[in-house]
Structure formats: C-alpha cells, structure tokens
C-alpha cells in the first residue's frame, strides 16, 4: 500500500521532468541562414589580439589582421610582393628603399593615410612589447624612416638587405593618432585600419564578426559579413561544415580530413611550407652526432617515402632542401633509403654497433608520437638503440632555444618562402639554431647572399650554401607538412600554404 502510493507520486515527478525535457526539445529550431553574403570560418583557436603589431600567428590572428589592416605590400601565395598601400618602390642605393604611397586612403575613423602614418607605425613596432612580435626591424636591419613628402617615404637599413619587401608584408599600418593616444587594451580590442573589412563585434572564444568597409580603396569583397568562429574540437568543426553552418574549416589534421567530404563540402590539401624533420642536436647527450657521417647514416636509415604513404596517406612530398620551392637548389640529391649504406657509414665513423639515442617530440605537431616511433624502428634496424620520449610544449621550446634536446627531435621549421631567412637559422649561434650546427664556410655564404642585391649572383650563393648544409645533414630530412582545410563547395578560393585565410578574395556562388 505504502509502496503503491509513493510510486504514483514518484511517477508524477518523473512525468513532470520528462515534460520539461520534451518542451526543451520542442523549442523552435534556429532558422538556417542561407544568406550568400556571409562567410563563416571555423578555427581551433581564437584571435589573440587585434593590435596589428602583436601579430604572432598566421591563423586566425593573422587572417583577421590581414582583413582589417593594410600593409605597404601584399605577399602573394608564392611569396611575390604585390602593391598594397605602396603603389611602387625602387632602390635608391644599397641601403635605401623608396616607397610611393597610395593617395586618398583613409582609416575607418577618418584619419588620412600618409607617409607620417607609416613612420609612426614603424616606430611603435620597434618598442616593447611589440618588438618581440614584429620582425621588420630585426630581420631587415631597418634603422631610419625618412618622410620625403606626404606620399613618399624612404627606409634606410644598416646593411644591404634582400628581405625588405618580405617583412613589409607583415608590418601593418593603423590610424596613427588613434593608436598612439589610446590605451593598449583599447587598441587590442577596437582596431582601426584601412582594409577591406572592419570589426563589427568580438565575443572572445566564441565569434568575431567583420563587416565590409564601405570606404575601402580597393575592389569591394564579395561577402558582406565574415564570421570567424572558434570551434576547438576538430570533429565539431567538420560537423559544422557538413551541417552547412561553416564555409571554411581550418586546422584539420590529415587523419580525419576524410570527414570533410560531404555533398556540400570537401577536404582541400595544400602542400605546406613547413619543413618537417628530426633535428639532430650536435651538442646533446650523444657525441656520435657530431660526426657528419653518422648524421648521413641516420638519413639513409629511414624510408621517408614509405612513412609518407603509410602515415600521411601520401598527401605530401619529401623536402627537397632546407629552403622551400621555388628557391631550392634542384641539384641536391636525396638521401635514398639504404640501410646497408647506413650501417657502413656508422662503421666508418667508428660505431659499428650503433649507440643509444633519445628521440623527443612535443604536442606542437600532430603525429609526433607515431613519427618518432616509426623513425625509432628504422634506426634500430641499423643497430642504433633509440628511446622515444614525449616533452611538454613549453619545455620543448625552451630546449630548442637552449640547444639542450637530448638527441634527435621531431620538428617543423619555417613556413616561409624566403631563402635568406630560411638559411640563416642554421648559422653558428643563431637563436633558432636548435641543432648547434656550425660551419663557417656556410655562414660566410649565407651572410654574403643576404647582402647581395643582384638576383642571379645571390641565387648562386644560396645554392652553394644549400648544398653544404644539405650534405652536412644537421637534420634528418622528412616532408613538407600537409595543410588541410575543409571547404564548402560553393566557395571559390585558393587556400594558401602559409595558412593565411583571406575572406576578401573568396567568391560565394
């Protein structure tokens, strides 16, 4: 009796909660906007800062800054400089560059764009904390910015440089008065630029909305509104694409890229610019690595082609040099997979029985564990005794900065198309030279090339430098990191290998 009464009561309680649930499910579903004028881009992370001088990653921070601000020159996907706020430029002498600026451009707050604006921006870039992020001064040796007249400006460097146009493409110009007179967090949150879009709203970790800049000096973009959404989980990003609520999904790993293919969307593979390799630390725990023969042996011991087929679904190619195409020396010979030769080289170097070797990886690049394990198994076949070790990312970066990795380490370097910058990282004592490689002949060639303004002559020097470092093998050469996007089929746009996404060039059908 007792039980019966109470269970009726409980049933009623249950019923009411079930009703609540049903009601929740019966709420009106959102209407799916099929508005062709909005492009939604889903990324893993949020924009860090909208201060154009705090740009520290290509996507999404870089993509948004490229959309809101202009630089003097634009970098085309193949690395060629194109006019943007500068209409033309010329070299006055070995250390002076003259830029002619676009007239009649205004920032979205009404301030005019002119040579003084460029000067104010470039000077701000060279102060802390911006100088850590902004590389114009460090990489080009820029020392003077001279205003000639309202629309002409001279940039003077310490020594001749071939890198000016490359780094100008990432030196963005904001409204000078607004920028210098506002609090830093205001500049970081309310950008004022002259680019194709302007900021409408930004809810951190959720969405950032851009709307078209009516006063843009160039051709008006196709989409009126662009939404950069943060969707941290990769499968959720792909689900958004399949459900039709995202047009571009960025930061997709090759292993699940297949999920991007549906009747309205597909996966897009781009041969990336990041050169994946196992860095070989000459100053680590294993002295054998100081011997170039040993390093060559490591390269002969690993079957890179097979790993590409097995682990990366064949979606990429081996790196041809430490310099990206089209600037690589085409005469370099790959280290063919040849375990016999590897064993012979090891014996020649005095290590017929191999040696213990630690392979380290971090979470920085997807698949670090798998790659390290496969490389370990190849190396153990030629007699080396490898151990695989995971390292936390921050610690890993500290190890790289201090050249203190234990042996070899999974690494990807420099998504750049700039031979000068790509080569300099392996010169003696360079901050990014995590392998401790040091060859004076190489250093001299690299330095000479970076100051040689004649294109053909410079190319020759760069090719020589590439050949020396390739054969000295401070890396165990692997592949170009494949970059994968998911794209809605009704969007026409060539996705870039450097991961910048430019919504103003997208055509919506």
């Amino acid at each position: 009796m007792f039980r019966k009464t109470s269970s009726r009561l409980a049933r009623q309680l249950m019923l009411s909660s079930a009703v609540a649930l049903t009601m929740a499910a019966a709420l009106p579903a959102p209407t799916w906007a099929q508005d062709n004028e909005t492009i939604t881009i889903a990324s893993a992370n949020d924009v860090i800062s909208l201060d154009p001088h705090m740009l520290n990653s290509n996507h999404p921070t870089g993509s948004v800054i490229w959309s809101i601000f202009d630089s003097l020159v634009r970098r085309a996907p193949d690395g060629t400089p194109e006019p943007r706020l500068a209409t033309s430029w010329e070299r006055m002498d070995d250390v002076t560059w003259r830029f002619h600026l676009r007239e009649g451009v205004t920032f979205t707050n009404g301030e005019p764009f002119n040579a003084e604006a460029v000067k104010v921006n470039f000077e701000r870039m060279n102060t802390a904390p911006f100088s850590t992020y902004q590389q114009l001064h460090d990489q080009t040796g820029l020392k003077e910015v001279n205003v000639i007249d309202d629309y002409t400006i001279d940039l003077v460097t310490e020594a001749p440089t071939v890198n000016m146009l490359y780094w100008l493409a990432e030196a963005f110009i904001s409204a000078p008065k607004y920028m210098t007179e506002s609090a830093p967090d205001k500049v970081a949150n309310e950008p004022v630029g002259s680019g194709p879009y302007k900021l409408e709203s930004w809810q951190r970790d959720d969405r950032l909305t851009l709307t078209v800049n009516e006063d843009y000096w160039g051709e008006a973009p196709d989409a009126e509104t662009v939404v950069f959404r943060v969707v941290p989980e990769t499968s959720s990003r792909l689900n958004e694409l399949r459900a039709g609520t995202a047009d571009i999904a960025v930061d997709i790993t090759p292993d699940i890229a297949g999920q991007a293919d549906s009747d309205i969307s597909s996966a897009v593979y781009v041969e990336g610019l990041r050169k994946m390799h196992m860095g070989i630390n000459l100053n680590g725990e294993q002295p054998a690595l100081k011997d170039p023969k040993v390093r060559q042996a490591l390269n002969h011991a690993v079957d890179v082609d097979t790993i590409i087929t097995a682990l990366l679904d064949g979606k990429t190619v081996p790196i041809p040099s430490i310099v990206n195409p089209p600037n690589n020396n085409p005469d370099l010979k790959r280290f063919e997979y040849d375990p016999e030769k590897a064993r012979a080289l090891l014996a020649e170097a005095g290590y017929p029985d191999g040696f213990p070797l630690t392979i380290q990886y971090s979470t920085r690049y997807a698949g670090g564990k798998e790659v390290s394990e496969v490389v370990a198994s190849y190396l153990s076949e030629v007699g080396i005794q490898p151990t695989v070790e995971a390292v936390e990312l921050g610690q890993f970066r500290e190890m790289l900065a201090n050249t203190s990795t234990k042996g070899i380490y999974f690494m990807g370097w420099a998504a750049l198309i700039n031979p000068s910058v790509e080569l300099v990282i392996l010169t003696c004592g360079h901050v990014d030279n995590s392998s401790g490689y040091c060859n004076e002949e190489y250093d001299a060639l690299v330095k000479k090339a970076s100051q040689t303004l004649d294109d053909a002559e410079r190319k020759k020097l760069e090719f020589q430098a590439q050949e020396i470092v390739w054969n000295d093998a401070p890396w165990l050469y692997l592949w170009r990191l494949p970059v994968v996007f998911g794209k809605a089929n009704n969007i026409t746009y060539d996705l870039r290998a450097d991961n910048y996404v430019e919504p103003y060039l997208m055509i919506v059908e």
């Binding site: 269970s7 850590t132 959720d206 969405r207 689900n239 609520t245 921050g394």
Partner: protein, 305 residues
C-alpha cells in the same frame, strides 16, 4: 550564527591564500611563458625585452606579493597573452558559464531526484534494474562521446539543432543535456542508495508503526533525511560546473570559464590562470557555505556554531 559566519570567512581567506600561492608556484614551475608567446624566430634580445615588460624578470616572491596586493584592491592584473584585464576576461565568460551550469544542474536534479526515489521505492523490479543500468552506463560513458553522438544525431542528421556555438536557447540544449546526463547518473544512484538506507532506518519503521500516514512518513521522515548526502554531492557538482566544464565546452565551442582556464595553462598566462583559479575556488567556498546553510533547513538537528 555570527561566530559561525566569522569562522567561515576566516577559513575562506586561508583557503584562497593557499590556493593562490599553490597556483602561483606550480604555474612558474612549468617554465617561461615568453618561450611560448614569442614567435619562433624572435631574437634573444626581443625575448628579454618582453620578459621585463611583463615583469617576469623580478624575483618570484616580489611577483607574488605584487599580485596579492593588487588582488586585494580588486585588480587581478593583465593577461600576458591577450593584453586585457583578467577580471574582464572572466566576467565576459560568466554569463555563458552560469547559463550552462544552471541549466545542466537543474536538468540533472529534475532527472535524478524523482528517478532515484522511484527506483528506491520499486527496488528489485524491472524499472530498478533498467534505470540502474542506464545510470551506470551514463556514468561510465565519457562526456565527449555523449556530446559527439548528440551532435551527430540532432545537428548533422536531423538538423534540428546547431552543431556548436553560443547564442539562443537552441545552442544551449545539447551541451546542457550532455552535462545533465552524466551528473544525473551519479546523483540518481546516490539518491537511490540514500533513500533505501533511510527507508530501512529504525525511525522510519517506528513512524510507520505509530500509524502515520504514508505521505507523512515519506516526505517528513524519509525524503528530507535522504536528501542530505544528495545535497552535499549536488553542491560539489554545481561548484565544479561553475569552475568550468572544459570537455563539454570544447566539443560545443561554448565560451565558458573552463576553456579560459585550460588555455591559460597551455599558454602559461599566469595572471589569467591565477585569476581563474581564484574565481573557481571562491565559487567552491561559496557553494559549500550555502550547502551548510541548507543542512539547517533540511535537518533541524544540525546547528551552526
């Protein structure tokens, strides 16, 4: 009562101090945030400059005391990475977090309490067996799996609800269900066990022997006593949810405190990390305090002194 409040306040201050010091030390033990913040090809000088700009070149204790000093004045500092006030970053996420936590929590209580009582009263029946098994599965199934299954069904296949994001009520439904299911599974099992224990207690038998009405026995003698462990557990669950449901937030791209906290850890954004931990710890202390007050309401034998 006043003495109780004062003692509680004193304890809260101690807890928050210990938590903040622990967070500070452990944070700094993980290493140098500048290595993660600077671009890969920044020069050594540029990194040093950033370090001194952020005040990271000062001795650790000096950094800690300046943090505490500012925190006492209500200033939690600037996020290293986002160059925005930490308190603004947390407040920005608060509506989303509270919305998800409250909905998930209420939903889980609406499921767990009636269901727990129902199966306790009908123990060893088919219903009991079914509900207990489902609760068992619900408790063991990982959040991300439940979330992904819900998305696959309701958002991609049926297209009834959005996949992820933050907005109107339609965006809230799937993440709230994901949170509620797991929490409800735990609470249902506890409710059932607690109810069974009370129903077998001597005083309930006495009450029944006295000839009291079943309704009185159930609501006055059994239910309130059975609720005590459930309230404790539910309080902990709610405090945890307000501190952030990282996995659910990640799958549903929900801009809550959990993701803020985890990103702060990954980026070694110490001021932000300390701010978020202090926030979560305060929520914990506060909710525990409310649970203590609730005990008095539920059980008159409990005295606050």
């Amino acid at each position: 009562m006043l003495r109780f409040l004062l003692r509680r306040l004193f304890m809260a201050v101690i807890v928050l101090l210990v938590v903040s010091f622990g967070t500070f030390i452990i944070g700094h033990l993980t290493g140098d945030p500048v290595e993660l913040m600077a671009p890969e090809n920044a020069t050594r000088e540029a990194k040093d400059e950033l370090r001194s700009y952020l005040g990271l070149d000062r001795p650790l204790l000096v950094q800690y005391f300046s943090f505490i000093g500012n925190a006492l004045r209500g200033d939690l500092g600037f996020s290293f990475v986002q160059q925005t006030a930490v308190s603004d970053l947390i407040l920005e996420r608060l509506p989303a977090t509270l919305q998800l936590a409250a909905t998930g929590f209420v939903l889980s209580l609406l499921i767990a309490v009636p269901l727990g009582i129902f199966i306790a009263l009908n123990r060893n029946t088919v219903w009991d067996f079914l509900a207990t098994s489902v609760a068992m599965i619900g408790q063991s199934a990982p959040n991300f799996w439940i979330g992904l299954m819900l998305i696959a069904l309701f958002a991609v296949q049926l297209r009834l609800l959005p996949v992820s994001g933050y907005g109107g009520i339609s965006y809230l439904i799937l993440p709230a269900i994901t949170i509620a299911l797991q929490s409800a599974a735990r609470l249902t099992r506890l409710m059932r066990a607690s109810m069974l224990e009370v129903l077998n207690a001597d005083y309930v038998r006495t009450a029944r022997a006295k000839g009291l009405r079943q309704k009185t026995v159930l609501w006055v003698h059994s239910f309130r006593n059975a609720m005590i462990p459930v309230v404790t557990m539910a309080g902990l669950e709610l405090a945890e949810l307000i501190g952030g449901a990282f996995i659910t937030e990640t799958i549903f791209a929900w801009p809550g405190v959990g993701r803020l906290a985890v990103n702060a850890v990954y980026q070694r954004d110490f001021p932000l990390l300390q701010g978020v931990v202090l926030f979560a710890a305060t929520a914990f202390v506060l909710i525990n305090f409310l649970v203590d007050l609730l005990y008095v309401v539920i059980d008159p034998r409990v005295k606050l002194s």
